[in-house]
Symmetry: C2
Subunit: 481 residues, 2 copies
């Protein structure tokens, strides 16, 4: 079903005909995000041009009783931006204003449609940058980063997106608009800002973002540590952390991924290495020499095969390009792959990584690893052939077993890709039914009919936990709203 005619007319009157699409090509195109091509067709896609138009669109959809969801660049990996049948997608790409940099308060105001890396580009002349740097940073939107509370290699030292946002302008599912947070770092009272960040489009639609910027480090050193043994690489991670060093990034890439990278972009990584670590140190010029010496000493102690230090910015860029394009490179090895995202306590890394690869072998599948080792945030890529039903089934089983392993080690379901519709049925594995009730009740405060991005993040009613309506919540509390 495309858009209902009366609603369509209202949307066209508000946005203009160019910005309201419900033709078959558009609807079929918008079934997917970075995770999946979903079987459900949206009713249509609208492209509001500013905050007021978002408010207008949401009011129309609210009045029409239609489900809807926001969408940024569609790079998400947990299905957060794919529609349920008949939902309207609110595409925020046109909200791409980049405000001036405030040097003293270290802030910048941007629209949700701004591409992540553009924020750092705008800030660079002021000696500042925006820390969250997911692999997709050349494509993903800041609005999507806020929705998913995105991480990236450099969030090891500086924290994930929630640590880099001061305020949001949001539109609730009833079309009301609110500023949450403020220009200063403090927001007394219930921390609604932290609640909205990472809510995966289930609580609000973001129309404006005040980002915190961070000073560019005066000096950066990027090392590639080459290992003949994956366990040694894991030991190096633990030893660096135990020594009290906080690298800006500490990434691991295993042999399978190294070979894929070399087949595609030829970064000069040694294809016979069992693993490499990318270790980035940030400091002022004099300090970095000592820190580099300390890391070299540790790497020597654990038996690192070779240490390469990037001698200039071009060499450094080459290393990071390899890391950030590693996912794409896997296409050279396998017709399909599935990216798992699990978190474990850092100390469990050596035994978990060995087990992950064993799980793959148990099911006849290769697992490639490229991940944020310093954070204990695994990204096992399960290589399979989507045309082979047995391999598809095995991939599901391997993904499930890896998550089970993470949970058994005291970890959790996702580090940065989110829950979306990929893992919402697993939420009862990490949270009690009461905690899930609390989350659903909190959602009901902002999104009482779950008409905004239904079926995402939280388990669906009857699937696990018992979702209470806002009416029940209000009855329980006796508060009148």
């Amino acid at each position: 079903m495309s858009l209902e005619p009366a609603l369509r007319r209202q949307l066209v009157a508000l946005l203009g005909a160019d910005w309201v699409r419900d033709d078959q090509v558009t609807r079929f195109s918008y079934r997917c995000d970075g995770l999946t091509l979903h079987p459900s067709l949206p009713a249509g896609v609208v492209f509001p041009g500013d905050h007021d138009q978002v408010v207008g669109v949401v009011k129309l959809l609210h009045a029409a009783g239609v489900s809807f969801l926001p969408r940024g660049a569609g790079t998400g990996l947990s299905g957060g931006a794919v529609p349920t049948t008949g939902a309207v997608i609110i595409e925020l790409v046109r909200l791409n204003r980049i405000g001036p940099v405030n040097e003293i308060d270290r802030t910048i105001e941007v629209g949700p449609g701004v591409v992540n890396i553009q924020v750092s580009h705008a800030a660079r002349a002021h000696g500042l940058y925006f820390v969250p740097d997911p692999s997709s940073q050349k494509a993903c939107s800041v609005g999507g980063n806020v929705a998913e509370n995105s991480g990236g290699p450099h969030t090891l030292k500086y924290g994930v997106t929630v640590n880099h946002i001061l305020a949001l302008d949001v539109v609730l599912p009833d079309g009301s608009a609110h500023r949450v947070g403020g220009e200063s770092w403090a927001s007394p009272g219930a921390d609604l800002l932290a609640l909205l960040i990472g809510s995966e489009g289930t609580l609000c639609i973001v129309t404006n973002i005040i980002c915190r910027l961070t000073p560019l480090p005066p000096a950066v050193q990027t090392l590639l540590a080459v290992f003949n043994d994956v366990q040694q690489a894991c030991e190096a991670v633990s030893a660096i952390i135990r020594a009290g060093i906080v690298p800006a990034a500490l990434e691991m890439i295993d042999n399978t991924v190294i070979r894929a990278i070399e087949q595609t972009i030829s970064a000069g990584f040694p294809t016979d290495a069992e693993a490499v670590l990318i270790i980035e140190l940030e400091d002022i010029e004099a300090g970095i020499t000592d820190e580099l010496a300390a890391v070299r000493r540790i790497l020597g102690q654990v038996g690192t095969h070779e240490i390469r230090v990037a001698e200039d910015e071009a060499a450094r860029a080459r290393i990071w390009r390899a890391r950030k394009e590693a996912f794409g490179a896997i296409g050279a090895l396998s017709p399909s792959f599935y990216t798992q995202d699990g978190v474990i306590p850092r100390g469990a890394l050596p035994r978990v990584l060995a087990r992950v690869n064993q799980i793959g072998r148990d099911h006849g599948l290769t697992i490639a690893n490229v991940f944020h080792a310093g954070d204990g945030n695994l990204h096992p890529l399960i290589l399979y052939d989507a045309h082979d039903p047995d391999q598809v089934a095995a991939t599901h089983e391997v993904g499930r077993r890896i998550l089970e392993l993470c949970l058994a080690e005291g970890g959790t379901l996702s580090g940065e890709h989110g829950i979306g519709l990929e893992k919402n049925s697993l939420m009862d594995r990490v949270y009690s039914s009461t905690t899930l009730d609390h989350m659903a009740e909190v959602r009901a405060v902002f999104n009482p009919n779950a008409r905004l991005n239904p079926g995402k993040m939280l388990p669906e009613p009857g699937k696990c936990g018992d979702i209470k309506s806002v009416a029940a919540l209000r009855a329980k509390s006796g508060i009148q709203v």
Copy 2:
């Protein structure tokens, strides 16, 4: 009214007679916290010894329909731990277990009754520490830090308490117990952990805390920069930030506070200085030399009168002792003082500080300033005589005008002292009624009858905009502090 006899018997059966107190001395003693001596008398005070006893106590109080509130060390400055009439205080001082340090995951598990500084003492042998360091850190409890989302001088670089907590065990007002957060840094789904931290005892009672620890810096340099002009000191703050330097701490102390410090603990601060900045740099040994040189250059450019670098740990400790005991030292200057806590965007510091002092002069009162300059977190201390009703009224007015000024500059009501019952009637000045409804509804998810710590943080129904000052509370109670 002391405890109702049947409830008292149940509590004694659970905790033992020693740990259930409702004699007059105890009840009168527990009317106060660091802000005020409240006129309301609690029904009694109970001292559970562990998590299970907290659960048992809360279940009994819930069944009896009695209001109750948790209490740590009672050092809070916004009245969060003072009782309403007839409420039962659950004193958590006995939950003071300190678990072992996990070096790889950099964590430690502590009870809410553990004194803040003990956490860093326990971690020190492992080269780690607990970042939040309020001035009261030798007395305040970690549970209180969690409740108030406490800051401190060193949170400029590393963030406030919410950035240093991985998980909480909590008891909800119905006596149910939950783990919120986890041993790894990621918690997908609604961020209930961030919501509970800083909720000022209005959402849950914390019984166990997993803290994140941070590596001790290899080298620390602490400078005292002496200024003949407060505006120059403000300019120095801006210039340091603008240069992309992130000091571990950046604190300002004005002449009034300097004189108070010298009268009491003789830290060797120059009593003729208009202001001093305490600037602490953390880095590795070689790095700190460069950073120190950069700060010296900036201080020279803005016209700093004198720069003193702490030559050893004793000199450094003397500077910090002066800073942390500054509030107490004010007692040498004035029979009473009221500590305001407001936040402004950092860029507004020079003009706001001048206005703050002018507001004091307008009302014939001295204002002393000792505050987190790098964070834009003001702590104007209004000196007055509690025996003089005119001065009490003027203090009330000065405090109100300072907050108005912070709000007009785009700042907010509190940086770290919380809202409590001191500022809850002002919450509608920074938040819309819809946002306050959202906060109340979120509270209702956890604390549906507001029986846990009633009347705190959120405005009471019908009282929004109705200013209840500390001075008025004191006047009403007829008690001099």
